[in-house]
Symmetry: C2
Subunit: 189 residues, 2 copies
């Protein structure tokens, strides 16, 4: 997606530890027009795939997921990373290891909002090691729902997450795939 | 806002401890069309107020904030509740006490994204005791930015937050104000 790649080249900053900082438009400050375009592009790629609901992970996945849900005309559910005091006691949950933060956290969704009748599209901001997508796929499996695929805003193509997720038979649609960002020079696949 | 009040009456559940559960459309599962209508309504109420940026709090504020930003044509910034490993070290921060969770957490935004030139509109999902809005107002004050006001999806009019915030001279626009929800019967102001 050209507008996204341009934005990454203009505003992305490469930090040590293979971190790509895109907090000016994606995961701290958000550019609503770009998020809308991203949602429309995911909807285009998964049109005709009978998606009934979007699943994402708080907080950075919410913006692209919301516009995808708007474009597809389906609700958007976000998995929570902390056990909120007033969350339903009956949840589907999975453990996700974060390489960025070097810790495992439990993601949860209420059982009220995932069912065997659902066909789910996962949306997330980044795909690097694949753990978040696999965790969300596990929630979907627990509910007996089917998985249409995963729409990713930025895939780090030089890490193994994309291969791991695709090897499990999950369709992955990434809007920008970074081939390399050694020495701060970003190139796309 | 009639569509919102109807949705609250149809899907909201009143739990003990003055908790109104609206997780079917606002803060777990989200209804993108309703969120869009809410964003357009906030934009209408603050049109002509020279807003340069929206500030909200992860995660439940993001949906209404994003559509407000889209409608006003300005970026949306969300304050973080946890210190992310890759966040800018230079932040504005404030402590916020949550009555729902009975603990204090620190909210933070990068100094890169709030400046003295900004005129900020706060958006949040709930106003109950006012602590989150006051915390965000403090971040705005630290940056030397000006505050256009606060747009609230649901105000609990029977709690003191609305009065506290308005007494500080902050303009508050709430789309639904709950007058009472004793015995699970919700009435609006």
């Amino acid at each position: 997606m050209e507008a996204l790649e341009k934005k990454i080249l203009m505003e992305g900053r490469v930090l040590t530890g293979n971190i790509l900082k895109v907090d000016s438009f994606l995961n701290h400050q958000m550019d609503p027009l770009l998020m809308q375009a991203i949602g429309q592009e995911f909807a285009r790629r998964f049109a005709g795939d009978s998606v009934t609901k979007i699943l994402t992970l708080e907080a950075s996945g919410i913006a692209p997921a919301l516009f995808t849900g708007l474009a597809l005309g389906v609700p958007v559910l976000f998995a929570k990373k902390t056990a909120a005091g007033n969350m339903d006691p009956l949840t589907y949950s999975a453990d996700v290891y974060s390489y960025t933060r070097n810790r495992t956290y439990t993601i949860r969704v209420s059982r009220n909002y995932l069912s065997a009748a659902d066909r789910i599209l996962i949306i997330d901001d980044f795909l690097a090691r694949g753990q978040a997508v696999l965790g969300m796929a596990e929630l979907i499996g627990q509910a007996g729902a089917s998985l249409a695929g995963a729409g990713i805003v930025i895939e780090k193509g030089f890490q193994d997450g994309g291969a791991i997720v695709r090897q499990k038979g999950i369709r992955v649609e990434s809007l920008a795939i970074i081939k390399d960002m050694t020495n701060g020079q970003i190139t796309f696949s």
